[in-house]
Amino acid sequence: MKRDLLIVRSFFRKYYEELGDTIYVRNPSEREFMFMTFDGKVRRHFTFKDAKSLREGLVREAPRHAYYSVSKYRDPSAPMEEKGPISSDLLFDIDATELEGCGQEDIWVCERCGAYGHGDKPKKCPKCGGQDVKLLHWLDEKCMIAAKNELKKLINLLREDLGIKEEDMILSYTGNRGFHLRVVSEKYSSLSKDARRELALYVIGSGADVRLWFRKIGALYVFDPPSGQAKRAMQNLFTIKASENLKRKVSDMIKGKPTRLSSRELSLISSLISKSLQEVSPKIDWMVTMDTSRFTRIPNSLHGKTGFRALLLTPSDIDEFDPFRASPIPITEEITLKVRYPVPKFRIHRNLFGPYSEGERLSLPANAAIFLILSGRAEIL
């Protein structure tokens, strides 16, 4: 193991020793756990009989990443085919990486010659031709605001359309660029894979047949939104660019007035609604939702690419939630670093850091230093 990672690991261990009592997982003895260690190994198919032994396990191993299964099993430590699934939380995944305007501070780096650059990762290093080119992500404040917005859209949809109570939603920050939401109500936990897929497709606004959202009365059309998704897509049309005449008709239809539409107007409105639907739909990764063999991070464990805590949240926390204030590992002793690749401006708690350039040497509090080391941008001197 690299010396840097050994040192970071010791900070992780210290965190689990001192703040391990915030670690809590529902029904640990029925969950499968997965640890990724600091030397890159994956250990899975094991379980903990209770929260106490889970905490002890985290102190003992101080893993780089620590996950627990979405599913509950009769025998979580058995091989996959023999685990015997009992039920599975319904999982939604929001990843800021996929959102528009994100990843602007990401850089590719060449491990061989140290070249780096913005933009898409090249297959080969343009400077030395080496194959060992990596992408270094950067956790960007702006992206997290976008991701929070998607999360709020998701919670609203789950509550309004699906009637899922907030106390049945387990929300967590991943510790990096995303959020996870688990629905733990009994009815939704027993859904089949096919039904999960259908539900996920609803969330992303797929499968809409806008013609079914209108009723025709003689020559007039009445907008009769079937689902919440349909309603929100229509309401969002207020923001569109269109002729005054068309806007007035849209506004009449939202009020439920029977409205005369030419066939050209009808098809125009239909295509605008389809676009609008994409905007109002929460941007989840639908493949994650249909997969009951997934894992998410153990609440309040540390993320091995940032050193941030995978904090549990409640819906009312989201607006206020600031990952750079709430999540950094709460350790502040000084560490001396050398910057390997340019570091944009960033913030830990209220303290602003950077920007730093390549080769710079500096001394930073551990929470900021670990963030830079795990982001791949600096090393311990």
Binding site: H137, D161, S190, A195, G207, D209
Partner: protein, 319 residues
């Protein structure tokens, strides 16, 4: 439960209790001379199921229905998944026929009693919980079955009564396919019934068509073919996607019609007409987004469109 409702639900707990009270075993069902009618009815059901028809006798009573169902299911289980799927399709269709004039109250009683659904009435509609709806709707094709096009709010879906019946019939189909008994041998009379059915089946399912290149097909198409092979009922969109795709990769109309022979509701004339219609119109296979919308995409496979090449593009699924 009233007898006329028991007739609808030979697989319900109430039906099972009646069988238990009578204390009859599969041996009894096979040999008891008084149960000859039940055996006959079971045989007719299975024959109709294989032929893609529905058998509804002019006269039935609850015991006859329940016993014939148990016999038919045991024989189907003995013959394998394919026949079971046919029987499931038969029972789903039978349910649609015999519930056609059932009152709303009766239907709701049936939904509660047989499927433990929480259901209520709102105007002309039946209100069901979203998770219950989803378990049935995923197996039904068509835009109106996608929840985005349904009246849904606060966890409930409103269904017109005929759609509610269709939903229940899907649950009937699923019920036939669950808790299937392990049947490795049958009492002599039932074994004879099984071999008659099996003979009929052989005549029905024609020789295997050439299936070159199937291993290179995209996962969505493979999944549809696999379902067809198991004799599952396919929604209209799946048939359309499969037909357009196979035509694109050079299958003949005959080969495609042959493939559909496995379909529980196969009708040669209709199948020929439909395949020919699609071929003559020259439709393109649906795009991935469309397949996804139809609920036919089993997952990301790296291919943009069905028509684009038959090889996977390599790509990492996660960054």
């Amino acid at each position: 439960m009233e007898e006329r409702l028991l007739l609808l639900l030979p697989f319900s707990e109430a039906a099972k209790n009646i069988v238990k009270e009578q204390g009859l075993s599969l041996e009894d069902l096979a040999y008891d001379p008084l149960l000859r009618d039940a055996r006959e009815l079971a045989k007719y059901k299975l024959m109709a199921a294989i032929a893609g028809r529905v058998h509804v006798p002019r006269y039935e009573n609850a015991l006859l229905t329940i016993y014939s169902y148990i016999i038919a299911k045991a024989v189907a289980a003995y013959l394998g998944r394919f026949v079971l799927n046919r029987l499931a399709e038969h029972e789903a269709k039978r349910f649609m026929i015999i519930t056609e004039n059932l009152s709303m109250d009766d239907l709701i009683y049936v939904a509660k009693e047989a499927f433990s659904l929480e259901v209520r009435i709102s105007g002309d509609n039946v209100v069901v919980e979203v998770p219950d709806y989803l378990e049935a709707s995923t197996r039904i094709g068509g835009a109106k079955w996608r929840i985005i096009n349904r009246k849904i709010s606060k966890g409930f879906v409103q269904l017109p009564i005929d759609d509610f019946r269709r939903m229940l019939s899907e649950l009937v189909r699923a019920r036939v396919l669950t808790s299937v008994p392990e049947v490795s041998s049958l009492p002599k009379p039932l074994e004879e019934m099984a071999s008659q059915i099996s003979l009929m089946l052989k005549e029905k399912v024609s020789r295997k068509s050439k299936r070159g290149k199937v291993k290179d097909f995209p996962p969505c198409i493979k999944q549809i073919m696999e379902k067809l092979r198991r004799g599952e009922n396919l929604p209209h969109q799946a048939r359309f996607a499969l037909t357009t795709f196979l035509l694109k990769v050079g299958w003949s109309e005959d080969q495609i019609v042959d493939l559909f022979r496995n379909s529980p509701d196969f009708n040669e004339k209709i199948a020929r007409y439909q395949v020919h219609h699609i071929a003559s119109k020259g439709y393109s296979p649906p795009k991935c987004e469309t397949m996804r919308g139809w609920g036919l995409c089993p997952g990301e496979c790296g291919r943009r469109y069905l028509t684009e090449g038959l090889k996977y593009e390599e790509g990492s699924p996660d960054s």
